[in-house]
């Protein structure tokens, strides 16, 4: 039984600090390849750039289990050069523009440092100060002698920090899933074929997972992701009834989201597994959003699929907050699930 030790934390830190904006996942891909190669029977980088790794079991009847975690993160693309080190940019993936002013970024594969500033409030009316700065008024500033290129990706320059029971980092969505999947791959079991998809472009349309499922042709699939925990107090002190998930309650099992009705047999299976093993879990509140499970479920002739997420606060912002205990319990739940999948799958048919 693996736990979250210093080696796992170090890997997560490396993964969160790496830049991998959707469509340019190379930096995370290199880390993943290095980590999974020693354990893989087959590993390839597919046409879109996902890492697809298979670890075969030994038995005669092996369940083919696809586990998916997306490598990409939200970020920016440089779209025009305004001269003197100032660049226009567009967002890649769902970013609230109110998270951008005053942030440090890293541009391109060389990690050229830059900042997103705004005009001084001293020169503004009180009314103007309360208006959000639209994207087309913002620039990435790499300094007057700086040069980056149109087409370069940029991401937040946030450095991973620990704080008591939590981590503060960018791209916890979904590097924590990537780190979980790497750990699971290392300790795969003999009675399954573990098909690990470290997929690309989840944030802009679940593209990597779709073709990965076509390639793997799995019996069933679990998307390992990270979902918002909106467990914040309300301004008037009334009860928060739309928290989605809460930090500290364990892995969030999806029932239904904006794009998937998760396979009810798999939902029940995960709940029963958690209960049998004494692992805390929570059910993500049904609602909007979506994960790679949507794309996988609709692949081929249909694939039974479910999502499990580690909750995090402040999604798609420069810094998210997650609890190590939730990560540990997510890993424990998935390990236990892999152990129980062969008999469960046999009974499903």
């Amino acid at each position: 039984m693996a736990t979250v030790g210093s080696a796992q934390l170090k890997l997560l830190e490396k993964l969160c600090n790496a830049s991998a904006v959707s469509g340019d996942e190379g930096e995370v891909r290199r880390i993943v390849l290095e980590e999974v190669k020693p354990y893989a029977d087959e590993v390839r980088v597919d046409a879109l750039g996902s890492v697809l790794a298979i670890r075969c079991g030994k038995g005669r009847k092996r369940t083919r289990v696809m586990l998916d975690a997306h490598m990409d993160e939200v970020g920016f693309m440089i779209v025009a050069d305004d001269g003197e080190g100032l660049y226009r940019f567009e967002t890649v993936g769902g970013i609230d523009v109110r998270h951008l002013v005053g942030k440090q970024v890293l541009v391109g594969r060389e990690h050229v440092p830059g900042v997103i500033g705004a005009g001084p409030i001293h020169l503004m009316s009180a009314e103007e100060e309360t208006r959000k700065v639209p994207l087309d008024a913002l620039r990435i500033d790499v300094g007057p002698a700086g040069k980056v290129h149109v087409g370069d990706r940029a991401g937040f320059a946030t450095k991973f920090r620990r704080s008591g029971p939590s981590i503060l980092a960018k791209a916890i969505d979904d590097r924590i899933g990537v780190a979980t999947l790497i750990e699971l791959f290392r300790q795969s079991r003999p009675d399954i074929d573990l098909c690990a998809a470290f997929s690309v472009q989840e944030e802009i349309g679940l593209r990597g997972a779709k073709v990965a499922a076509q390639y793997f042709q799995p019996d069933l699939a679990i998307a390992i992701d990270s979902t918002p925990a909106n467990d914040l107090p309300l301004y008037d002190g009334s009860e928060n009834t739309t928290y989605n998930t809460k930090l500290g309650l364990g892995p969030a099992i999806y029932v239904a989201d904006g794009s998937t009705l998760h396979d009810p047999r798999l939902v029940r299976f995960l709940q029963e597994t958690a209960e049998a093993e004494g692992i805390p879990y929570q059910l993500r509140q049904p609602g909007g959003g979506g994960t790679d499970a949507a794309a996988i479920q609709r692949s081929l002739a249909g694939v039974p699929a479910v999502s499990v997420s580690v909750p995090h606060r402040y999604t798609h912002s420069p810094i998210s907050v997650a609890r190590l205990a939730d990560w540990k319990n997510t890993l424990a739940l998935l390990q236990a699930a892999l152990k129980r999948i062969p008999p469960f799958f046999a009974a499903m048919h």
Binding site: P120, L138, Y314
Partner: protein, 354 residues
């Protein structure tokens, strides 16, 4: 002259919010100790460094005022481990969502890493959902359990920006608090130059407190030290995204010499002549009524003190990514040293109106 950049970086890496400037004052004092004859703290915390002139006593003195305090936040209330915050000085609320901050927890004496979180719109009153979310609705989150927060954090604890300075291409440094620690760095360059440059007048190198809130340090130090003249060093607006009006000036292309009713025209004229003579590039900054600096306070202290204001252009003022050209800081330091060195025994008598 030694390279000032490492000192400037260390200056913006220590805390020192308005009213709690101690850590900054200690770091500056350590740097100045070998450059001045004596250092002391004023009753309200400003740092005074005296470098004696070579003239006959009683000597005239010039005060160079650079404020060392920083804007930031303060804990106003704690709810289930989340910290409500309020501003210390003129915070730009637009930069707060997603900002990396440090909570200076007095309950435990720790510096806690945290992030400022923006709640989803549906958690806010309808009037607060669009546009910039007001500081009253933002929450600082340490990631600690509520009971740990209750033990460690107190209402009133300071919250400062935590991002480290970044080197941008073209010898530009970006970070928080460059307004006004870059002026402290410029004054330090001046003191370094004065090691090999004779000066007759006494020099009071001053790092003032609480400029961002009330100019308390400027009032009190000017009163205590009673300099014959004073020069304030502060940031002005650099041209850049969102800033292109008449009040803005190019980054890295020279220093600002400010004129306006807070400032003595004779001193302003002398600084202009000197900059011309030394071929230090400069621009004229005009302030029709109020310069928004410690000069406002010093000018009206005691029986009135002739005051000048020199500036460096700074991009993105009052954000955590303020940007300044190191060259402008060095230029200011050199201009100050040359000016001090040019002061002769008769200078005071030449300060005239009309």
């Amino acid at each position: 002259m030694t390279d000032i950049l490492p000192f400037l970086k260390s200056l913006v890496s220590v805390s020192g919010l308005s009213g709690q400037e101690g850590p900054a004052a200690e770091l500056i004092a350590e740097q100045w100790r070998s450059l001045v004859d004596e250092t002391s703290r004023s009753r309200v915390g400003s740092l005074h460094g005296l470098k004696r002139g070579s003239g006959k006593a009683p000597r005239s003195s010039v005060m160079i005022a650079t404020h060392m305090d920083a804007i930031g936040m303060r804990v106003s209330k704690i709810t289930d481990g989340f910290l409500h915050i309020t501003n210390v000085g003129g915070i730009d609320v637009r930069v707060l969502p997603g900002a990396a901050v440090t909570v200076h927890a007095t309950g435990s004496g720790e510096q806690l890493p945290a992030v400022v979180g923006m709640p989803p719109a549906r958690f806010l009153p309808e009037s607060a959902r669009d546009g910039v979310v007001a500081i009253d609705h933002l929450l600082a989150d340490t990631g600690l359990l509520p009971r740990e927060v209750a033990r460690k954090v107190r209402v009133g604890d300071l919250v400062s920006f935590a991002n480290e300075p970044l080197d941008l291409a073209g010898e530009v440094i970006s970070g928080h608090t460059l307004d006004n620690r870059a002026s402290v760095a410029a004054l330090t360059v001046c003191l370094q130059e004065l090691q090999n440059k004779p000066h007759i007048w006494d020099v009071w190198a001053v790092a003032t407190v609480q400029e961002e809130t009330s100019s308390l340090g400027a009032y009190s130090s000017a009163f205590e030290l009673r300099p014959q003249i004073a020069i304030v060093v502060d940031a002005t607006f650099a041209k850049g995204p969102g800033a292109n009006g008449w009040q803005t000036f190019p980054l890295g292309k020279g220093v600002g010499l400010c004129m306006g009713p807070n400032l003595h025209p004779f001193l302003h004229g002398k600084l202009k002549e000197l900059a011309e003579r030394l071929e230090i590039p400069w621009f004229l900054d005009v302030t029709p009524a109020h310069s928004g600096t410690d000069a406002v306070a010093i000018q009206i202290t005691a029986e009135g003190i002739p005051t000048a204001l020199v500036e460096f252009p700074l991009r993105y003022m009052h954000t955590p990514v303020e940007a300044v050209a190191v060259k402008d800081v060095e230029r200011l330091g050199r201009l100050l040293a040359e000016f001090i060195s040019s002061l002769d025994a008769e200078f005071l008598d030449t300060i005239v109106w009309d």
